[in-house]
């Protein structure tokens, strides 16, 4: 108990001295994670969409070659950036570019470098998630859209992507939370986010454990808030569980002046007997005499 109160004491002392540093670090971490996740998801969407362009035997040769090439490039991108650690990618890009181009190409802005690296890393993961999200939408949806004359692009934009996007939100959430945590490796290129301040502060005063406690609580707070917001977004996109029935009068009023050609409907009063007859017939079969 004594040790515990000592920890509380240390933590509050650290916090009193360095609150602005910790909070600033959290803010940088969040900004980087949000921006990089958004850009990464966009990269993933583009890759996933490019990867699912239908390509049949009937298509012309140039089209097939082009699509094959696109698929190869996307595949290579995904495999390379998924298969190497982000720390190394950061080093490779941040220090590699100036090395390779005799200092003509380099990042003057550490933010740009960090965002680029985390984004393309997220994009590589999201590309596969998006592809999965697209192919997991029921093929009947595509057929329904084609059957009313939609082109591939119209089908994608109006029918498939909204549903695929809904399906990949958990994946986006995963990546966002991973990004909040994994941006800590950006210290390697000198990007100061939440974890960098831990290193800086403990370098000054040696209070490793209390500082780590603050870091833990800080990261957990950020990820919990992120999870909560994503769940909320999911619910919003699902729409309401309930719906209101609309009466016919309201429809006429809402549609303003519309003039029916009165062809009647099988569901109006006039057709009730014939409608009932069909329903009865299906339920009970017809009478012997009518066969």
């Amino acid at each position: 108990m004594n040790l515990f109160s000592k920890l509380v004491n240390d933590v509050s002392r650290l916090w009193a001295n360095y609150a602005s540093a910790y909070l600033g670090g959290m803010w940088s971490t969040l900004k980087l994670a949000v921006v990089a996740t958004v850009i990464g998801v966009l990269i993933g969407l583009v890759c996933g969409i490019l990867n699912t362009i239908p390509c049949g035997k009937n298509d012309s040769l140039p089209r097939r070659v082009l699509l094959g090439l696109i698929r190869f490039v996307v595949r290579a991108y995904v495999e390379i950036f998924r298969g190497t650690p982000m720390v190394l990618q950061a080093v490779f890009i941040y220090y590699g570019l100036p090395y390779f181009s005799n200092n003509t190409l380099r990042f003057d802005d550490i933010w740009a470098a960090a965002i680029l690296i985390v984004s393309i890393n997220t994009g590589a993961y999201m590309a596969e998630s998006v592809r999965g999200g697209i192919i997991s939408v029921d093929p009947g949806q595509t057929e329904g859209a084609k059957a009313i004359g939609m082109t591939h692009v119209q089908t994608m934009v109006n029918v498939i992507l909204p549903q695929a996007f809904r399906n990949i939100i958990p994946q986006i959430g995963n990546n966002f939370i991973i990004n909040i945590k994994d941006t800590s490796v950006m210290f390697i290129i000198g990007f100061t986010e939440f974890f960098a301040f831990h290193r800086y502060i403990t370098g000054v005063n040696n209070m490793y454990f209390p500082s780590a406690t603050i870091e833990m609580i800080g990261y957990l707070t950020m990820t919990l808030v992120a999870s909560f917001l994503l769940r909320w977004l999911e619910k919003r996109l699902d729409g309401s569980d309930n719906y209101e029935l609309v009466s016919d009068d309201q429809l006429v009023m809402a549609a303003g002046t519309y003039s029916y050609p009165d062809r009647g409907s099988p569901f109006d009063e006039r057709h009730k007997p014939s409608r009932e007859a069909v329903i009865q017939e299906v339920k009970f079969g017809r009478n012997r005499g009518e066969r």
Binding site: A147, M150, P266, V282
Partner: protein, 246 residues
Amino acid sequence: MADTILEIRHLSKSFGSHEVLKDIDFTVSKGDVTAIIGASGSGKSTLLRCVNLLETPTSGEILFHGKDVTGRGVNAPEYRSHVGMVFQSFNLFNNMTVLENCIVGQVKVLKRSKAEARETALRYLQYVGMAPFINARPRQISGGQKQRVAIARALAMGPEVLLFDEPTSALDPEMVGEVLAVMQHLAGEGMTMLVVTHEMAFARDVSTQVVYMNQGVICEQGPPADVLENPQRQETRDFLARFRKN
């Protein structure tokens, strides 16, 4: 005939080495209600999907108002917008409400204004008795209701032919009636329809032409009175006898 809408000529379709459709020939004129019957696996659905170009025919021609639509360089989406299709599994867009389902095609494909599309959609939803449910989502309504919305969605595009691919096979017996009632009413109004069905009563009473398919070929076709009541071929007789027993 002058008002021939669809002409299927020597249509064949293979999946690999399996020939599903062999040399299919038939004609659909304006106002025809053609019922395609036959056992499962006889190629009925494939035939219908070929007509709508959801499957690419291996050989043969499909003439729509005299123009072949199977060749390269044919604008398939444009052609499909004239040929409505209703599926066994409804295929309503899950991310939209009932009303949006009926509007989206008109706005995106036919480039109608939102207001006009809404009006047309409401008219046809009222026609199929689904107007009160415009704000519901597909997952919230029953199978029969979904199928009626699917019919309204197809009608809203103003198609010249409506294709029905076993529209009642996925429905409870209770709901079959409400869908058949709509189809019967449509037929009465002169809509040209091509219906793959197992509902023999519907074929007998509503259709003007019955096509019996067996193992990928058209075994017998003609007016329902001939094919259903007085079949010429032994296969047709066997098939109908099996049906009567059930």
